[in-house]
């Protein structure tokens, strides 16, 4: 191909040049068509997933899903799983966000080229992509083994997933803030921590909030880390120191059951969690996007 590009210069033979040009443009059209096809395939996957969820889950959507607890038979609902997911996600986010915020602040404002800073950034990036099932195993080893499954352990596992997401967005957003803004705060006599908390955080708020929303969306659908930590619970329980139900775990337990009612519940749960997660993502991207 590169040979044909060089040969495409002023040609002695107009016919050869024409042929060459035609074949180059044909290749170009073929590649373009393939790229459009790839995009269509990608979008078709998303469409197929959403369509399947609506088709199989939409039919089972009713008030009893939100009022009844998980049980066999036509009266089963997902109330305990919904409550469990909300509680564990909320606690996990409440634990993970402040830590992630402080780590991001450290990386952006204090570490400047230090070895510790580079190590923390590296480790945070590793945690960001580490298999979530291993985080579940870790929390099992530390908090569950020999003591029993608890909702708190589930929330801690989710918090460990929240931290690196918040770290990344916080650091990125704080770095975007112009130095002049910090200098202005310092010139007014504000100590460094006040300039960070009262000037930098508000300026970076949109970005940080986006990160937190994306983190919530990510952990709300996590299954693997909860398998060994909060375990699931067929009854309504608000006690975080006991095993706790959650939507992903209920889906995992019911999807492979022979009982058609339970499979139906699994699809309803899948519909709820997916549209919840996608809605959070859309809010994070569209509403909170910095107006550039």
């Amino acid at each position: 191909m590169s040979a044909s590009i060089t040969a495409a210069g002023p040609s002695r033979n107009a016919k050869v040049a024409n042929q060459l040009s035609r074949s180059r443009h044909r290749t170009n059209s073929i590649v373009k068509a393939l790229c459009v096809l790839a995009t269509v395939i990608g979008l078709a996957f998303l469409g197929s997933i959403l369509f399947t969820l609506i088709e199989l889950g939409g039919g089972g959507l009713s008030a009893k899903v939100f009022t009844n607890i998980t049980r066999t038979g036509p009266d089963g609902g997902l109330a305990n799983a919904i409550v469990g997911t909300l509680l564990q996600t909320a606690l996990g986010t409440a634990i993970g966000t402040p830590i992630g915020l402080m780590v991001g602040t450290y990386l952006s404002e204090y570490s400047a080229g230090s070895t510790l800073g580079n190590a923390v950034r590296f480790v945070s990036d590793m945690l960001l992509s580490a298999p979530s099932i291993l985080i579940g195993l870790f929390v099992y080893q530390v908090m569950v083994g020999g003591r029993g499954y608890t909702g708190i352990a589930g929330a801690v596992a989710l918090a460990i997933i929240v931290i690196p997401i918040v770290v990344r967005t916080t650091e990125d957003m704080l770095r975007l803030i112009p130095t002049a803004l910090r200098e202005a705060a310092v010139a007014l006599g504000a100590p460094k921590w006040k300039s960070i908390v009262l000037v930098c955080y508000p300026a970076a708020l949109d970005g940080i909030a986006t990160g937190v929303l994306l983190a919530i969306a990510r952990v709300a659908g996590e299954t693997a880390p909860l398998l060994f930590t909060s375990f699931g619970n067929s009854y309504m329980s608000l006690d975080m120191s006991a095993p706790m139900a959650s939507l992903p775990l209920a889906i995992y337990q019911f999807a492979g059951q022979p009982d058609a009612d339970l499979v139906q519940l699994a699809w309803v749960g899948a519909l709820l969690i997916t549209f919840g997660v996608l809605a959070l993502n859309i809010v994070a991207r569209v509403v909170l996007r910095p107006k550039s």
Binding site: T39, F45, L116, S132, W193, A224, V277
Partner: protein, 320 residues
């Protein structure tokens, strides 16, 4: 303001703000150290838990193909093989599609169309993995069994190597379907990285190429790809790291059979799927639990290496 009053007040204020600064910077640094301890804790806890298995089986643990809870003989060879095989096939399927999407989004799509398509691709990445598992089990696996696998099996019949790779029966579930689901999951990651690094190519380079009469594809091939090659490979490694540890989607569709087989349409197991499925039966302090933690530790080491390479490759461009 009188001179005599200033020093004590100034001293008091600077003491106060100094302590505020000290507390805040201490908290920030301590949180950083906490993250270090977290990763260190994961490594150490997994290793401590895995120790009984490593002591019982030695290095053979890695090569042993048995996984027999009844006789308490455990080996990691099958799940390691399954993990690497599914991830590599997933990459082979995902990279061309992701490249096509990234190319479309950066060069071909009309401007007003880029944002919605880009967002849709990002939403594909946000779908929880358990949903991919259910979708794979109920939509993709039957589709494969009915339309795709029989055709491929017939087509390769009699061709030496391919015949062994694609054998019947066409059950839908299996290594290939698991790899396909993984591919769908990582396409958005690779596409997003490629799109972002393609955007870093200085426009003047591309304009020069267009100026001498290059077609869009020639600009992509000769300017954009060479310029972004390292980052693209880094993005692919990042996706590989994700695919290696993916649990739920794979557990639903891989068929969960503990064997090494060249037949891609047969059942298999990955480290994550084996841990998820066997954990319920593992008693506290049992060799089974220890062996599960041991393969978890191996998964950690593999993903750590892949992710570290990916980070090293992605870094130079990120700094630029």
């Amino acid at each position: 303001m009188s001179q005599t009053l200033v020093p004590p007040r100034k001293a008091a204020r600077s003491f106060k703000s100094l302590s505020g600064d000290a507390i805040f910077s201490f908290l920030a640094a301590a949180s950083g150290v906490l993250v270090l301890l977290l990763l260190g804790g994961i490594i150490v806890e997994l290793f401590i838990g895995a120790l009984p298995a490593f002591q019982a089986f030695g290095l053979d643990f890695i090569w042993n193909v048995d996984w027999d809870p009844n006789q308490a003989i455990f080996g990691a060879a099958v799940p390691i093989y399954g993990t690497i095989l599914t991830s590599v096939i997933a990459i082979l399927i995902a990279v061309p599609v992701a490249f096509g999407i990234a190319f479309y989004l950066t060069e071909l799509a009309p401007n007003w169309f880029r944002r919605p398509v880009g967002t849709a691709v990002e939403l594909l990445a946000a779908v929880p993995s358990i949903i991919y598992g259910m979708w794979g089990l109920l939509v993709i696996a039957p589709f494969m069994a009915q339309y795709v696998q029989p055709g491929i099996i017939d087509a390769v019949d009699g061709i030496p190597l391919l015949e062994t790779l694609f054998q019947g029966p066409a059950r839908g579930k299996g290594v290939f379907t698991a790899a396909l689901i993984l591919a769908v999951m990582i396409i958005p990651f690779i596409a997003a990285t490629m799109r972002d690094v393609f955007m870093t190519v200085p426009p003047v380079f591309k304009e020069s190429a267009y100026g001498v009469g290059c077609t869009t594809w020639e600009v992509m091939r000769s300017i954009v790809i060479p310029y972004t090659r390292v980052s693209v490979v880094g993005g692919i490694m990042l996706a590989l790291g994700r695919a290696l540890g993916e649990t739920m989607a794979v557990t639903f569709v891989i068929g969960n059979a503990n064997r090494i087989s060249p037949n891609l349409f047969g059942s298999g197991a990955t480290i994550a799927s084996l841990v998820a499925l066997n954990f319920g039966e593992a008693q506290q302090g049992s060799l089974l639990l220890s062996s599960l933690l041991a393969i978890g530790f191996i998964l950690f080491v593999i993903s750590f290496i892949v992710l570290a390479i990916s980070r090293a490759l992605l870094k130079p461009k990120a700094v630029k």
